[in-house]
Symmetry: C2
Subunit: 697 residues, 2 copies
Amino acid sequence: MILHLNTLFNPQSVAIVGATQDTRRAGGQPLYSLTHQGYTGQVFAVNPRYTEIEGRACYASVDALPQRCDLAVIAVPAAEVPNTLEACGRRGISHAVILSAGFREIGERGAALEACLQTALESSGVRAVGPNCVGMMNLRSRVFAGFGAAFRKTDWRGGPVAMISQSGGFAYSIMTYCEEAGIGFDHMVSTGNESSLNTLDFIEYFLEDEQTQLIAVYMEGIHDGRRLRALGRRALETGKPIAVWKVGNTRAGSRAAVSHTANLTEDYDYYRDAFREGGFLQIREIYDLIDAARVFRSRKRPRGNHVAIVTTSGGAGVLLADACEHANLILPEMTAPTLAALKPLLPDFASTANPIDVTAAIAQKEPEFSAATQAVLDDPNVDMLILRSYPGRDAPLWAHNFAAAASASDKPILISLTGTLRESSAWLPTLEAAGVPCFEAPSRVVYAAAALHEFARKCERTARHVEASRVIAKQALPLDMPGGFDELQGKACLEAYGIATPKRMFVAAGEEGTLQACGLKFPVVLKVVSPDLPHKTDAGGVRIGITSKDELGQALVKMKQSVVAYRPDARIRGWLIEEMAQGVELIVGALNNPSFGPLVVVGMGGVYAELFKDVARRYAPFGVTAAHELVLSLKGAQILQGYRGKPACDIDALADAVSRVSWLIADHINRLREIEINPLIASDKGVIAVDAVISSG
Amino acid sequence: MILHLNTLFNPQSVAIVGATQDTRRAGGQPLYSLTHQGYTGQVFAVNPRYTEIEGRACYASVDALPQRCDLAVIAVPAAEVPNTLEACGRRGISHAVILSAGFREIGERGAALEACLQTALESSGVRAVGPNCVGMMNLRSRVFAGFGAAFRKTDWRGGPVAMISQSGGFAYSIMTYCEEAGIGFDHMVSTGNESSLNTLDFIEYFLEDEQTQLIAVYMEGIHDGRRLRALGRRALETGKPIAVWKVGNTRAGSRAAVSHTANLTEDYDYYRDAFREGGFLQIREIYDLIDAARVFRSRKRPRGNHVAIVTTSGGAGVLLADACEHANLILPEMTAPTLAALKPLLPDFASTANPIDVTAAIAQKEPEFSAATQAVLDDPNVDMLILRSYPGRDAPLWAHNFAAAASASDKPILISLTGTLRESSAWLPTLEAAGVPCFEAPSRVVYAAAALHEFARKCERTARHVEASRVIAKQALPLDMPGGFDELQGKACLEAYGIATPKRMFVAAGEEGTLQACGLKFPVVLKVVSPDLPHKTDAGGVRIGITSKDELGQALVKMKQSVVAYRPDARIRGWLIEEMAQGVELIVGALNNPSFGPLVVVGMGGVYAELFKDVARRYAPFGVTAAHELVLSLKGAQILQGYRGKPACDIDALADAVSRVSWLIADHINRLREIEINPLIASDKGVIAVDAVISSG
C-alpha cells in the first residue's frame, strides 16, 4: 500500500526546481550530486533565471519541462512552493522533496504559508518529503536529493540500515558515527515538517523492503499512535527491528522540540508503552544503534536468556557477569559432560564456573581455545555465547577456527573485544563474515545480547499469536448518559462485563422506610447517590463501618441533614448501602487516548504506591495471561502474593477483572473516556470493585 | 607517608629474577623491555641456569648480585618466591614486583604458599606488587616492569591519568580504548593478590603526585573501607578525582570475582555510599572514564548547575535538553541583555529559548557564530556552556575565535561534536589547547558536565568544611550490658544523646499496686520488660490503645497471665506504660561496619516503603545539615512535607534526631553494633523514638 514510495526512492528522472550552479545553496547541491555521484537517471534543471547551468539546459518553469519526471526536488523560496507543487501536479510529477524552509517552524507567518502548502498538496496530489528538511538519499540507485553535510559526503559505505529522521542535522551526525563503526545506511530520509509524507509512512515502506535489516528512527513526535503500534506489530512479524531514538521526553526537551519542528509530543509514557509491546528497540545513545545494527545483522535468535561467558581475563568476566545480571540474563552452570570436556583442555587454575575463565595461557593455544569454546557452545543449558577475545599473537588462527564453529551452530555468538576494532582488524572480518558480531566497550556485548533476546521473545510471542480471549458484555451499557455515570450506573457497567462489585441495596429517595429489609452483612457503608454531589465525602455523604441496623437508620437521618445543609438544592436520587470488603487496595484505571488508543493502568493503592508511581500500563484489550504479567510487574506485587505472612490474594481473579476492564474500554472507544476503579480490593476470596467512576465523552 | 613508592616507580636499578631470553615468558619480557625501551637505570639478570643472556651477565642468585638494587622483578615459580624475597631483604632490595602466580587464586594449595609468602614479606621488609599480577609501568622513566600485551606495546602516548587495576588483562583493555580516544596514562599498576601493597596504597600515592590529574581504578574489592573513605576526602581536598570502575556488585559478578583474585567484596552499598561522599566518579562503561579524563583536564569548575546549550541543529538541542533534565542540570532562560545581543546576530527563525538554536545558517558565518556564543557565555545565569559544533567549512576559523573566548572565561565550556573525532581533527587541537574538551556521542557531553558539576559541588562543600556539630552525651551510657539492652536501657541511651522518647512510667515487678498514680495522657501502650522475651508481641506482652486507668489495670492482669503462660520461667523486670504518639512512621537505623565504619540508615515506615527500599544511607557522624539532606533524599519525603493536605512534620527536629543517632553510633564504634529505632514517629510537634533496639558487640 505504500509501494508508491518506490517512485520516490528510485526515480527514473528528477527535476531540480530552483537549480543553481552554487553548490553551497540548497538548489545547487542536489544538481551537482545527481549529475556527479553516479545517478543514472535523467536530471532536469528548472530556474527562470538561467537558460543553461554548466552546459546543461535549464528550463524556466516546471511547465516548460520537456517531459514528465518522477521526482521534483524543490528549493525555491517558501512562498513559491505551493505554486510549484501545483505545476508538478499538472505535469504528472507524483513525488517531491521540498527543501525550502520558512513554514510552521518560524511561527504564525509560516503557519499561514503552510496552510497554502497543504491545499496545494491536496489539489496537486503530489506526495512530498518535507518541507524544512535536508532531503532524501538512496545509495543503491545513487539518488542524492538533498543538501548539507550528509549530501556532500560521496563515499558513504552503504548497508542494510535505513535512517528516518525528524532532524536533518542529527541524521548526519548519527550516520557518520555509524560509518566509522562499520555500520552503513542505504537510505536516509529527513522528514522535516511532515506536511505530506511522515515518519510512519517511511517506517512502513522500509519494513517491507527486503534488503533493509534495521530501521533507525530519530523521533520527536508522531500524530498517529495507533499506526505506530500497528507498525510495531508488523516489525515483529517481519522480524525486523525498528530502532527508535525518541527525544523530547522531558519538559526541557519537549519545549526544545516544539521550537524546532513543532512536532506534537504526547506524554512519553504512551510511546514507551507502544515501544515495549511492539518490535522497537529504544536507543538512548549512538552506541545502542551501532550495536543493534551489529547484532541484528545475523538472523540467529536465542531460544532463551541463558548465557555462557567464556573469558580470557578474570576481570572482564566479573564485569560481564555484573552486566548480565543487570540485564536479566542468566548465567547457568555447565552440565557434567561439558565440564568433563573442558578439564583436559584447560590449566588447573582455570575456572569452569560461569563465567568460564579459560585464562590467558590457553587463549594463546590453538586448537585448545577453540575446542573449549565449542564445548561450552554445545552445552544444552546455553542459549547464547559471549566470548571475551584475547589480543594474542594467534588470534587470526583462532578466529579462523572459531568462525567455522560459529557457522555450524544455530546459537548466537557475540564477541567482546579486548582491544579496539582497529587493533583487531586483521581477523575481525573473518568472524563478521561468519555472522559473529564483535563489540568494543566491554559491557556493550551484554546490551546487544539482551536486546537480541528481548526482540526474539517478542517475535516468538507474536508468532504464537495468543489471542486476547474476548469478553462479551452480559447486557448493554447505559451509554446515553450525558456527562458521565453516577456510582450505581458505573457499577452496572462493570457488572455487565462480569466484574464483581459489593453486595448492595439502593433505597430511593422517599422510600427510606424500606430500610428495615436490609439483607446485607454488617459492617456496611452508606453513601448518598446524587448527580449534584461529585464530592460525596465533603458533603458528609459517606459513612463507613456501620455495624448494625439501628446504627444504619441513625446514620441515614444524619446524612440526609448533612447533605441538605451542604447543598440545599442537590437532587438526591437515593441511598446506597454496601457490604464492606477487606483486602489489599489497588487502583485500576482505563482510558481512551485519542492518538494511541485504549489503555489500562493498574497500580497499588495507598499513599506510598502513589508517591512511588508503582503503576503498570498496557494497551487494551488483552487476555488474562497478559493481565497476569501486568499485575505481577508491579513492585507491590509481593504484597498481593502474601507479604509478611498474610494470605496471598486470588491473582487469577485479579487478572480476570483487569482483562475485563480492558475489554470494557476497548469496546467503547468512542463512548467512554475514562474508567477509574478506586479501590479495587483483592483478597484470597477474590476481587471487588468498591468504587468506580466512569466518564463518557 | 607513602613516599617510599617513589622507589618502586622510579628505581635506579632493577634485578630481574627468573630472567630468560624468551620474551614470551614472564621473566623474558621485562628483561627485553627494560633494556630496549628507553629505561636509563641499571638492569641485572638473575637466573642460575644462565651465566649470560644476550651478552649481559646473568647472576646465579639475588645474593650473587654485584650491588644493591632498588627493585626486583620476580618471575620464578611460586614455590621459590618466599626464598627470593628473603634474599632481596638480605641484599637491601626494598621493593619487588611479583609476577609469579599460583597462590591463593588457585585454591587451598596456593593459599598455603601465600601464607609462606606473607611470612617472607614481613621478615624481609620488602614491599611488593602482586603476586598474580602483570606488573607495573611508569612511562615517565620508561619502567616496563611486567609482561603481557600492555608491556609489549612500546608506543603508549602517556598522559596525566594513573591506572590501578585488580585485573591485569582488563587494565590493558581500558588503556587501549583510552589511547585511541586520545587519553594517555603515565602509570599503570596491576595489583594482583595484593599480599603486600594494595589498591589503596597506590591511590594514596597518585593523589599526591602532582602530574597525575585523574586516577582510574578497576576494583573488585578492598579490605579497609575507612581508608577508602579517607582517600575520598583527600581527593576532594586535592581536587583530583578518583574514577573507580567497581565490579563484582551482583551475585553473579561477585561469584566470578571470588574465583578470579579472591578479593573480598563487601555489600556494594557500602562502596556506593563511600563513593558518593568522597571525591570518586563511578565509572560504568569505558566512555565514562574517557570523558572524565577529558573534562577534568581543565581546572575550570562550574559555580552551579545552570547550563546553556548552544546548538546548530534543532534535533541535537532536543536531545541535549532531555539529557540535561535527566542529569539534574538546569537550562535557565537568557537575561534581557543577552537576548538583545543575540537578536542582530541570528536569523529570524533561530530560537533564543535555551537550548539556543542559532541554526545551521549562522554556524557557517564568522564572526556571528562566535559572537553569539560569547553573548550566551557571558550571561550571568549561565554556569557552564555546552556547544553543539557544526561540521562546516569554516570550522577552523570558528575554532580559532572560540578558543580565544574560552581562554578568557572562567566558565567551563564543553563541545558536543556533530562529527567524529577523526573528522574534526583539523581544528580540534586548537580547542583542546584552550582547555575546551570535545565529546563524540551526543549525550556524553552531558555526562561530563554533570560529573564536573557534582565533583565541584563536593569539593566546594569540603572547602567550606561544615564540621558536624558535635553532640555530647548528657550522661554515660549503660555500656556494660552483655548481649544488648532491654527497651528501657535502649531508650536511656537515646535520651543521653538528646533524642526524645515517649513519656513513660515503669512499674517494677511486684509493685503493680503503684499503678494508680499513672500521670500519663491516654491513650497509652503497655509492654512487658523482660530480658527473656525479645519477641514481646508473640508473648502477648504488648497492648496498644489503652484509653483509661481501669482498662490499664485489666490489661496488666491479662498480660501477666499471658506472658507467664507463654514462658513460665521468663524473668519479668516490670511493666512499661507509655503515651502513644501520632504521626508519620520512620525507621532510623545505625550500625558499625567493621570495614567502612559507622553508618546511619533512614527509611520511611510501612510495608510499601520496605518493599520499595526507600532508604537513605550516610556514614556517621554528621550534623543537621547533612541529616536534612539525607531525610529529604527519601522518595517518601513528600509525606513528611505535608502530603494530601496533612500538616508538615517538623523536619528540623527529625534532622536533629538523625544527627544525634549518628553521633551515638560514631562515639561507640567498639561498643555498639547496631541501633534500630522502629518506629520513630514524626509530626508537626516533633519526633519521638517509640521503640528502640540497641545491641552491643
